[in-house]
Amino acid sequence: MSDFHQQALQLAAQQQSPVWLQGLRAQAAIDWQKVIWPTRKTEHWKYTSLASLQKSHPVLLKNSASQSESLSNSWQQDVDLIGVDAIRLVFVDGVFNAASSTELSADVVLFSQANPTQQAVIQQHLGTVICGDQHVFATLNNAWVNEGVLVHVPRGTTLSKPVYLVQVATITGQAVSVNQRLLVVLEENTHAEVIEHYASTAGQQNSFVNALTEIVVGDNAQLQHYRLHLEEENIQHIGAVHVNLMRNARMRGFTLAHGSRLKRIDYQINHRGPGADLDLQGVYLPRNKQMVDYHTNVQHWVPHCTTNEVFRGIIADSAQAIFNGRIYIHPLAQKTLAQLSNKNLLTSNKAEVNTKPELEIYADDVKCAHGATISQLNSTAMYYLQSRGISRSEAEVMMSFGFINELLQQVAEPAVRDYLLPRLALLFGRDKVLLEAAE
């Protein structure tokens, strides 16, 4: 057992949580002892090394109100928030920060403040959306969970505003661990919008963020979900989004990640009710010596569901990206429509991408397509731009940005688009004013 493994167990024992969460935690602690630490020989960790994490000694900050008050708010100078009129929950180094948050609503609560009905919802769903036993860090998150956010929209009600969850890592020097947990339960005929934003202050961060989200989209319910990983490069982030889509449920998901020392995000999405519809788009942009690893696994268990998944990455400098996208069509899932596309742009000779689209089909009446490309820029388009007087280097930047801008333009929440567009444009040296004018 590694230092990390051992210490994680001790930390799990030290956590204080509501009594009704203790069963889950105790079981997870037992499971954690049996967990086999992933190495490069583990299928789903082939390209991503956990060596640096394994050597770290995690420390968890206590999630108590008194401590959150005393924390510095200087992070606000470094991190801009998305300008969205929302129910906002800000966590600083994993600790809820009431001062930076808005008032919560009846449907959006912290686990520690859940009423008995909500406690029942949490107990019913927490840990149950997680699929499969290969999610080591889900087990860890369960073992550590002492606080979290519940978004529960009961049947026939609506959520008045989007939910905006922010986690900012601020502590330097010390290797702090952050155990973030979100549970979204949309009952029948409801709709909601949830934005997860992971950020860090500038400087030498050494945090480990384990952010786990579970989502149940009920019959005829609709969810817009955003998950943005905008942390600076020393952050180690291992995150996952586990989703159950019920009958005629609809989810539009968008995720974006800058690279960092270690960044691994899993999407596990299950079509569990006929007629469910998933639209998932992702963008990853590692630079320097950063890495990003996205693993997605969409499972069609029942007939008549659709999946449209598009991921694009631009890998610059000596950065590395991993994309493993799997769509699994179970025998019962007739009339499935599924598409998966992954395109990568390498802008340097030292950039690396490992992409693997996987389609496993065990039903005979389905329409599926998948594909991955790794390319340099389109030479005809390059010639076209140059023939208009635009220099080669300028054309390269324009086209690189265009490659992801295509996806950004489809982001449904204007506030998210308006937040990302100028920041990414800046990353590619584009003129912000012109882009905004072109809206």
């Binding site: 389109n378 388009a381 023939s387 007087g389 635009i390 992801i404 004013v433 072109a438």
Partner: protein, 249 residues
């Protein structure tokens, strides 16, 4: 303006142009016609400097400069403009941004300051009206989802914004209906000026009813085999190219 002397050029090891001569003076409109595979599009691409289109011998001087010494983008900034037969779709790159980058590149080359975003947008909107292109197209990706006619009008709009000295229109009439053809022709005619020359590459005489050329050349087998006035186009329409190819041998 442009002097092409004994030009040989190959594309992917295949010799396409075989001793082409052409001189164009300021203000002239030259139509180049000819059968498929004669080298018409190759000429446009060689002039514009497309990668893979290699001149093996001969010379081209453009406003007194050796064209082969200039990169594709430098040729554009010096005032050479090629309207593409198939304008390229570049999703994600805003048309507005593309047009401004292109105009700025030229202005910078000539020692003029870049236009402000506001100035440029005003100019772009005015110009889009001249080619009857809805302003919504400025916001879209470059040529993204444009119809054939809209793409060609976007080409003419770029030409208007860049105010080139030499405009090469490579089968701009292909795929256009009569209305779009007239808009394109009107745009070209508005641009005609004493200091500006045109090379109109086309298969059909029809376009030349709207853009009346000073000279008509027949390009066959990599060379200009016949030159005449605008009436030559009518003769070609009637007789085809075969008689000229026979003559050329």
């Amino acid at each position: 303006m442009l002097r092409i002397a004994n030009l040989f050029a190959k594309v992917e090891e295949k010799e396409i142009l075989k001793g082409l001569n052409l001189t164009i003076n300021p203000g002239e409109v030259h139509a180049i016609m000819g059968p498929n595979g004669a080298g018409k599009s190759t000429l446009g691409n060689v002039l514009s400097g497309r990668e893979g289109y290699e001149a093996t011998s001969g010379s081209i001087s453009f406003n007194g400069k050796d064209l082969f010494e200039l990169s594709t983008e430098e040729r554009a900034r010096e005032g050479l403009f090629l309207a593409f037969q198939y304008p390229v779709e570049i999703p994600g790159v805003s048309n507005m941004e593309f047009l401004k980058a292109s105009v700025d590149a030229k202005r910078k080359h000539h020692g003029q300051p870049e236009l402000s975003a506001v100035e440029f947008m005003k100019l772009a909107r005015e110009t889009s009206k001249r080619v009857d292109l809805d302003q919504a197209f400025l916001k879209r990706g470059v040529n993204e989802g444009f119809s054939g006619g809209e793409k060609k009008r976007n080409e003419i709009m770029q030409m208007m914004l860049l105010e080139p000295g030499l405009c090469i229109l490579d089968e701009t009439d292909s795929g256009l209906d009569i209305d779009a053809l007239q808009i394109v022709a009107k745009g070209v005619n508005e641009m005609r000026a004493a200091e500006r020359s045109f090379i109109i590459v086309t298969h059909y005489q029809r376009l030349l009813d709207y853009i009346v050329p000073d000279f008509v050349h027949v390009l066959a087998n990599g060379r200009i085999v016949k030159t005449g006035g605008k009436d030559l186009a009518l003769e070609l329409e009637e007789k085809g190219y075969a008689w000229l190819e026979d003559e050329a041998v």
